[in-house]
């Protein structure tokens, strides 16, 4: 299966590279000075790649490494083409912590929804790592999207991720997402 991993800065790692060499992963990892994504995200990558050897390699890279990867499928490049602001959003998402910073992205999400671009919205939810979202977005994105949840196949997974990330940040998701999640 031809799959790719897209890094935050647009670097694309092909599955052939992954298959061929764990060194490539390590080499790529060296380019990024960010924290490691949680294992659950790595598991997601691995399930996409369907390579247990890669899984073991990623796990061995583990918590002391400094990469931040986003698991995506072969359509990622086309999403970026049609949603050009997505990389910027993913880059800034942890720092969007006030209405001034949030409003431009709320408008962009809503333009997609208004145009019935549910597939693009779905992809955004799919590639967004909830652990990277600010607290404002962790409550705001689920509230914005929940009216359309039946049209978004990634909704359940995204919401679950948001709940876990809220919990990891020391807050109660049942309180912050009241009305959306079961109390």
């Amino acid at each position: 299966m031809a799959l790719q991993i897209a890094f935050d800065d647009g670097y694309i790692l092909n599955s052939t590279q992954l298959n061929n060499s764990g060194d490539e992963i390590e080499k790529t990892a060296g380019h990024f000075s960010r924290r490691m994504s949680p294992n659950k995200r790595l598991d997601n990558v691995v399930s996409l790649i369907s390579e247990m050897t890669i899984k073991n390699h990623f796990k061995s890279v583990g918590g002391n490494s400094a990469i931040n990867i986003r698991p995506v499928d072969v359509y990622f490049k086309s999403i970026i083409k049609s949603v050009p602001w997505l990389p910027e959003f993913l880059e800034e998402s942890s720092e969007i912590d006030n209405p001034k910073l949030a409003l431009p992205y709320y408008r962009k999400f809503n333009n997609l929804l208004l145009n019935n671009d549910f597939e693009k919205c779905d992809k955004i939810l799919k590639v967004t790592n909830t652990d990277d979202l600010s607290m404002l977005l962790l409550v705001g994105m689920p509230r914005l999207f929940f009216q359309w949840r039946e049209k978004l196949s990634s909704w359940e997974l995204f919401l679950k991720g948001a709940e876990e990330s809220i919990k990891e940040k020391g807050f109660d998701p049942k309180v912050l997402l009241k009305g959306i999640v079961q109390g």
């Binding site: 001034k100 509230r143 009241k178």
Partner: protein, 224 residues
């Protein structure tokens, strides 16, 4: 119940989102939301009347209360308020019948039923409802015969705003069938207290306290 007013506070102190209420007369109040916009300015988002602009600057006739929510949800709702203002520049129909109305995620208002709309109270309720917060348990509200007089007076005023004849006749028909009245003080009190959604009985005392705050503010202004 703690409230803020121009006597002891300034609008820029509003912490992302507050519920604001104004006394119009002894039997009529008006409710809206103070929120911080993207320029960090405090604005008033409300349903002032039939197809009037929803976004204005706050004025000193209002008192305001904290909304009992965490800062993140208040920030989100403040951002959503800005979207509502942007998407509904023409205003919204003023109607006692709010069935089928909603705000989409982009902030635009829509209704499934022709000739419905929002009052100042149902406007605020709908802002919260569209984001997953049910502040009042609408089903537990009774249609009180005593409210019909007030409703008919409102219809007369809407008529003066050159409302469509069909719009007005729908309002009269619905009033005869029975429409619940949600009072501004009930909405303001609900947002200032926890345990949503409130029933008429659970909100009665807090709503009375809001009215008392309005009266206290009026007296304080007279002394100044």
């Amino acid at each position: 119940m703690n409230f803020y007013s121009c006597i002891d506070s300034i609008f820029s102190d509003v912490d992302y989102l507050c519920v604001a209420i104004q006394k119009i007369s002894n039997s009529q109040n008006h409710v809206g939301l103070f929120f911080k916009d993207s320029q960090d300015q405090t604005k008033l988002l409300h349903q002032p009347w039939h197809y009037r602009t929803l976004l204005t600057n706050p004025t000193e006739e209002y008192i305001w209360f904290d909304v009992e929510l965490d800062e993140f949800n208040k920030m989100h709702l403040a951002t959503f308020c800005a979207l509502i203002a942007e998407q509904n520049e023409e205003g919204i129909a003023y109607s006692l019948c709010s069935n089928g109305t909603r705000f989409s995620p982009d902030g635009s208002y829509s209704t499934e039923i022709m000739y419905t709309g929002l009052t100042c109270s149902t406007f605020v309720m709908q802002v919260f409802d569209s984001q997953g917060f049910q502040i009042l348990d609408k089903k537990s509200w009774k249609n009180l015969p005593a409210d019909k007089t007030w409703m008919n007076q409102i219809i007369q005023k809407v008529k003066q705003s050159e409302a469509d004849k069909k719009f007005l006749s729908y309002q009269r028909k619905r009033i005869q069938e029975g429409v619940s009245r949600f009072r501004p003080e009930q909405v303001a009190a609900a947002l200032n207290t926890i345990n949503w959604p409130h029933t008429p009985s659970s909100i009665r005392e807090p709503a009375n306290q809001v009215v008392q705050c309005l009266n206290d503010f009026e007296q304080a202004l007279k002394k100044e």
